[in-house]
Subunit: 165 residues, 2 copies
DNA sequence: GTTACTGCAAACACTTTGCACAGCT
DNA sequence: AGCTGTGCAAAGTGTTTGCAGTAAC
């Protein structure tokens, strides 16, 4: 299954005359392994460094850009902070429905297409040809709600900045 | 009406021991005048400079931050590029439904709450306490669709970078 | 008279780029 | 052999901060 993905990705790269270098393979490995997390470029850099210590941050950014144009990963920008990257297992159109806790920073995802009706309504009323959409829901997760009840000045459930795993 | 807004804003500032300086007034003026556009910090800076040439960019950023915490303006981050700011006339909870053309960069808005049902469904299934949400729809506006049909390599309807009004 | 605010410039964080060398194919 | 990819360091961009002077309250 992973090897099927791998050969498909090699093809995708080859189609555009991109090479499948060990650096790109190492980065891909990190992204696939952490496919349920949203990683920053720096996190990907540091994790890739474990397997490939010589790698440079510039290579990571260049690779992520290529992977994004090929649809291998998705890039998100929820706030003014750094972008987050995530593996896109199916290479298909991806609905970005994210539920973000304002206290602990955790991000959960909904992949169902909840917005078909809304898209249709907007397309009809504006003539817009819709390609994609992005929905972010902000609030408080159950854990943080509980903690907030207990100690109104307490600490978040998880540190908002998940710098290290 | 504007004066009513103004006194209300003065109150909001005073409540938090913020002062109503001429710089803040000038910035507010720009934001209210352009309340149907999404302005970058730099655009606000340059427009404010017309009325108040001595102003510095740092003051603009500091003022925008204060205005945002008071709910006077809203700040958006659609991409990795700079943030956009917009006046929030009602100071109420604001639904950010933006329709963004991928070709000319124009941004239109829907202020109806299209997502109540979806919010309810997510709250029920996850226990999340939802505070706000942000929806961005990406596609092509009618003008750009027409232009794309005519000349498949033509120019966008409007420059994507609206540096000057 | 306090205290918050300002403008400047320097610092900042994240990301991109120029360059000479290395390595696929 | 040729062209793409790499690592480094330097540059770039948008935003924030330290500081000494200034102005609102």
């Amino acid at each position: 299954m992973v090897s099927k993905k791998l050969s498909h990705i090699k093809e995708l790269l080859a189609e555009k005359d991109y090479r499948f270098t060990p650096q790109r393979e190492a980065i891909l490995h990190v992204i696939v392994e952490c496919q349920h997390s949203h990683l920053t470029a720096d996190e990907i850099y540091r994790k890739t460094k474990e397997a490939y210590p010589e790698i440079g941050i510039a290579t990571v950014y260049r690779t992520l850009e290529i992977f994004e144009t090929l649809g291998i990963i998705h890039k998100f920008q929820f706030s003014e902070e750094r972008a987050l990257y995530e593996f896109n297992p199916g290479y298909h159109k991806h609905y970005h429905h994210h539920v973000i806790c304002l206290r602990c920073g955790s991000i959960s995802e909904f992949n169902e297409d909840l917005l078909e009706d809304i898209e249709d309504a907007i397309a009809r009323s504006t003539g817009f040809s819709i390609v994609d959409h992005s929905l972010a829901i902000y609030g408080y997760c159950t854990t943080c709600q509980e903690q907030q009840e207990q100690t109104d000045s307490g600490n978040p459930a998880k540190p908002a900045d998940l710098d290290e795993e």
